[in-house]
Symmetry: C2
Subunit: 301 residues, 2 copies
């Protein structure tokens, strides 16, 4: 089925205990599309300014990513993020943020994308997520991400969005903040009551916890990688592989959902082994499938 | 096979966001034995002072726990611990500690226990753990726990102990402290190089990560319980069910190890649902087996 993503394209500068990567390509829609494209064609919707140093056609060369929804907005500037990680690298520290085009009007979904069935609304202002959604004819499976600043400042808008989506993907800190509860099993149940049929809480190196459409839990550990260079984009790559897989099988019930979460998990484990896109761009689908098989073997009992 | 535990018996006072439990029974050997006794007979070795308000024969009434190794030391005082938990309750805060008998000579292993094959050395001074071990004729499978204060202050003694044991069980904070590395996959590999054939790192609500005797990883999420009242004893109950199961099947290879970790996980999940021993003492083996089946179902993909 057709898979559409809308999200950010960024110029990232990242410092981790293992090095620094300056003015490299980043952004939720970019990480998502890279990961999803291993599984399914991707329809890309996003905006950059005319200062953008990256040629996305080259970034996605040889991959099935349709850039018809990429807008280069003249007179605007590209989104920039400066971040760092310390210790176990479980938390990104934002050292600098220039929203630039992300603070302007949302991009237009091209006519030929409006029939998209699987939709990922990457993290942005919840009312922009809603505006993007309204441009689609009849989406069948809507997944959204969010983050702490919208939870704190746009709670009402976010609540409306939760009533419109099928899956909410968020990290453990966000889940605790949204529900004001530290117990993630409890938080997942509370979030599910707020609208989404499925809730996925990402815990970084501790894996993820899913409450599915049958109100049943699925938990999956992270793939145990010993070399974490740069966690940036892991969450969006998780979402990308997750949705890319589901769009490829055209199924969303519990059994397929679990496989999708496992594909998300191993694809994210590849992203964090290199700075920016370097490691995920260097592997083929075979490597993802090998890790999938290893993860299954490492969790069976 | 015969299973012996040596560890503490404590008078605990615990405060959590859900309540307070004063002067209740605690201690590593007590939680361990309670959990292990669902699976296998237990040989108990430990010391209390003559001020001990608990009758352990009553605590373990109807359970297969042989108290021949329980010493009531006249003129000494029982170990006491005061602790509290906040937020997600992942860390115990020690508010008061009276080592009392634990700071004295170790207990004597009774003659009839000296042929024990499976041995759990609960957390105490590593040289005491060594002295207890030396009293045994030919232990076949030795599991030890440790904690931050010994890692900081008794590193050399602890190193010697690591060379003598089959399994090291410790929590994630301790693993990071011992290896000076935040990555748990890396830490597990480093710890395994230090001696034990198997390393089990407990992560509380995030489950556990195991590096087995084939140098292969096994990861298992925690059982998602929504009602955590008091995490005290979860780690020792984990170890108890883990070893009780292995002693019952008389096997320790990877397949059985995984089942044992899963039994440890679900038994710990029952302990934390009540203060002190209240919840674990109230259930039968059927409840443990049900959770085991549920956990398998919640982690399969």
């Amino acid at each position: 089925m057709s898979l559409l993503v809308t999200g950010s394209i960024g110029i990232d500068t990242v410092v981790t205990p293992l090095g620094k990567s300056e003015n490299c390509i980043g952004g939720s829609a970019v990480y998502f599309s890279m990961a999803a494209s291993f599984f399914s064609p991707v329809r890309f919707v996003g905006v950059v300014g005319d200062d953008c140093p990256f040629d996305l056609a080259k970034v996605f060369a040889g991959r099935n990513v349709d850039l018809a929804g990429l807008e280069v907005r003249h007179g605007s500037k590209t989104f920039r993020w400066q971040g760092s990680y310390q210790g176990d690298m479980s938390q990104a520290i934002t050292d600098g943020l220039e929203l630039n085009v992300l603070a302007e009007r949302p991009p237009i979904v091209p006519e030929q994308f409006r029939d998209s069935e699987f939709v990922f609304l990457a993290n942005t202002h919840p009312s922009l997520q809603m505006q993007l959604l309204e441009q689609l004819a009849a989406p069948k499976f809507i997944v959204a991400d969010t983050m702490n600043c919208w939870i704190e400042n746009q709670a009402d808008e976010l609540k409306k969005l939760l009533g419109k989506i099928d899956v909410l993907i968020l990290n453990e800190g966000e889940a605790r903040m949204l529900t004001k509860n530290d117990n993630l099993a409890f938080a997942a149940a509370e979030l599910r009551k707020a609208g989404p049929k499925i809730v996925i809480i990402k815990k970084g190196a501790d894996g993820s916890i899913v409450l599915d459409s049958n109100n049943e839990f699925f938990m999956l550990p992270a793939f145990p990688t010993k070399l974490v260079k740069d966690p940036t984009g892991a969450g969006d790559a998780f979402a990308g592989a997750f949705m890319g897989y589901l769009a490829s099988v055209e199924k969303t019930d519990a059994k397929y959902l679990r496989t999708a979460v496992a594909y998300g998990t191993v694809t994210a484990s590849l992203v964090i082994e290199g700075f920016s896109m370097s490691s995920i761009a260097a592997v083929g689908k075979t490597v993802i499938d090998e890790r999938f098989a290893q993860l299954r073997k490492m969790t069976e009992f």
